[in-house]
């Protein structure tokens, strides 16, 4: 199932321009949508998930206009919101049955089979009769994906699903996601670069409501091959000096010292080691290019 987004714009009443003429095509399989907090990811996800209308632009699902045919879209959609609550005192099993009926699964036998299978798949079987309000963050998130999978959706949207999960829960969640990603379209929106690196054959990076990169992570990495250099510096003064001299991609703290990663075609000088590019370089480089060009525009 292909999602075609063209010319999407959205400005909120408080003046925040969340999406600026965004055009993007998402094909089958797992698609990673990467961007910092406030980049417009959630706005984009909510628009595709029929929760809000854009100011201008269109979203099509295999030729079906999403804004005009919300109920048709909802039949094939599974959506895991970034944050969601639960009713008090309602168990996972009861809530899934309730939501499955909304999804139009009216046959009792079929519904029970599906709910039971999902509870097994998401490893919630042993706690299915416990109230959702007593669930931990990871369990709640797995319930979230279980409800998104009700009714065999063909488009699944998960909005920042791993934020706030501990490493073990995050791994479990990503494994779960990759097991469903094969024959349906999954859009994974996240600010965690590793989520995309581990799961997604295709991705896009958005920043400030604009599309910065679209393509396969491997292509984006290949473009940076041999152009990322690393140097360890120990003081803040050195760091500041480098900042004015080089195109710094990112800095990390390693054992109290700064590892500085620089993007240059040739070796920037003594002390720099060539390192393998990773997806985080792609991410930071594109974000800093965007803010750089905006500063340039503002100065012009």
């Amino acid at each position: 199932m292909a999602v075609t987004i063209s010319g999407l714009s959205k400005t909120y009443p408080n003046g925040v321009q969340a999406l600026k003429n965004l055009t993007l095509t998402v094909g089958n399989n797992m698609f990673g949508l990467l961007g910092p907090n406030g980049a417009g990811k959630s706005t984009l996800m909510r628009t595709v998930a029929t929760l809000q209308d854009p100011d201008s632009g269109t979203v099509h699902l295999d030729g079906l206009d999403v804004v005009a045919n919300k109920n048709e879209v909802r039949k094939v959609l599974g959506y895991l919101p970034q944050e969601f609550g639960v009713y008090p005192k309602i168990s996972a099993s009861d809530m899934l049955h309730h939501l499955a009926l909304m999804k139009g699964i009216t046959s009792k036998g079929e519904r029970k089979e599906m709910v039971d299978a999902l509870l097994q798949q998401t490893n919630l079987w042993s706690v299915r009769k416990k109230a959702l309000s007593t669930y931990s963050g990871g369990m709640k998130q797995r319930f979230g994906i279980a409800q998104a999978l009700l009714g065999n959706p063909r488009l699944i949207i998960v909005d920042e699903p791993t934020a706030g999960l501990d490493p073990a829960e995050r791994n479990r969640f990503l494994n779960l996601l990759s097991s469903i990603g094969r024959d349906v379209t999954v859009v994974l929106s996240t600010h965690i670069v590793d989520d995309v690196r581990e799961l997604c054959p295709r991705m896009a990076i958005i920043g400030n409501g604009e599309l910065l990169v679209e393509g396969a992570p491997s292509d984006a990495l290949a473009a940076l091959n041999g152009k990322i250099w690393s140097k360890i510096v120990s003081t803040d003064e050195e760091l500041r000096a480098m900042d004015s001299e080089f195109r710094i991609v990112s800095t990390h703290l390693i054992g109290g010292k700064h590892e500085v990663r620089v993007f240059e075609d040739a070796s920037p000088g003594a002390g720099f080691q060539p390192v393998e590019s990773d997806l985080e370089d792609v991410y930071f480089l594109n974000l800093s290019r965007q803010s750089g060009s905006q500063t340039a525009k503002a100065q012009a």
Binding site: R46, L51, I90, K103
Partner: protein
């Protein structure tokens, strides 16, 4: 799907403590009305009117409706705002549900819940008649219809209309605050209004009865010159029902 929303609403209310608290409030309210001579309007008044007679029941039910405004608002208002308060709307509204099933199911579930909760007043009154210390010379043998007729013709009608009003306000404003303020304002304005009106000792009884949304004045208009025997045997006709419905 309507049925699912309806039954889920009932299930949800059954698990919620507030439902039982409201029920108990009405049990206690009418228990005291009958069992205590200094609590209710009838117990305090003319010593020959039956504490569980038709007139008494009409007065009790009218009182229940007035004090019950907030409870009606709480049940109807929260039923439709739950998905916003609990932040579940993103999950519910991305399912292919129909407006009719969602709104209708929640509304019908609230209506049934509220009626059941308010029926606690009948239970309380019945229990009151069993209290050994109550004034049994003023308690007649219990007639089921004496309980049901005023409940159905006054309380259920009020629940239906006020509940629908609160429900609509909640659905349109999406703010529980507005619903409670509306309920409280209605209550305050009415109580102030009726206090001011009775303080004037006005002999005008017609328009004040017509424009009384809770029907205290109208009830008084109708029964003002009834004899004790009449107050103890005659059930009020559906006039009150029609009048409440006209609001």
């Amino acid at each position: 799907m309507f049925w699912e929303f309806f039954t889920f609403e009932l299930k949800f209310r059954l698990k919620s403590i507030s439902t039982y608290v409201y029920f108990f409030v009405w049990v206690a309210f009418n228990f005291l009305n009958v069992a205590s001579e200094s609590f209710g309007p009838i117990g305090n008044a003319n010593g020959k009117i039956l504490l569980n007679g038709p007139y008494a029941n009409a007065v009790y039910n009218t009182g229940v409706c007035l004090f019950g405004l907030i409870i009606i608002a709480a049940i109807f208002g929260t039923s439709i705002l739950r998905d916003f308060q609990r932040d579940t709307y993103q999950i519910i509204f991305t399912k292919p549900i129909s407006k009719f099933a969602y709104l209708g199911g929640r509304w019908a579930g609230s209506l049934v819940t509220t009626v059941v909760v308010f029926s606690g007043s009948m239970l309380g009154e019945f229990l009151g008649t069993l209290a050994p210390w109550a004034d049994h010379s003023r308690i007649a043998p219990n007639h089921l219809w004496w309980y049901l007729q005023p409940f159905l013709s006054i309380t259920v009608v009020q629940i239906f209309f006020l509940g629908s009003l609160f429900f609509a306000v909640a659905a349109l404003t999406r703010k529980i605050f507005v619903v409670y303020v509306q309920g409280a304002t209605f209550f305050m304005v009415y109580v102030i209004g009726i206090t001011v009106f009775s303080a004037t000792r006005s002999l005008e009884r017609f328009w004040s009865g017509i424009f009384d949304p809770v029907d205290f004045v109208l009830l008084d208009d109708i029964t003002r010159y009834w004899t004790v025997v009449e107050q103890n045997t005659l059930l009020l006709s559906c006039l009150l029902t029609l009048h409440l419905a006209s609001f």
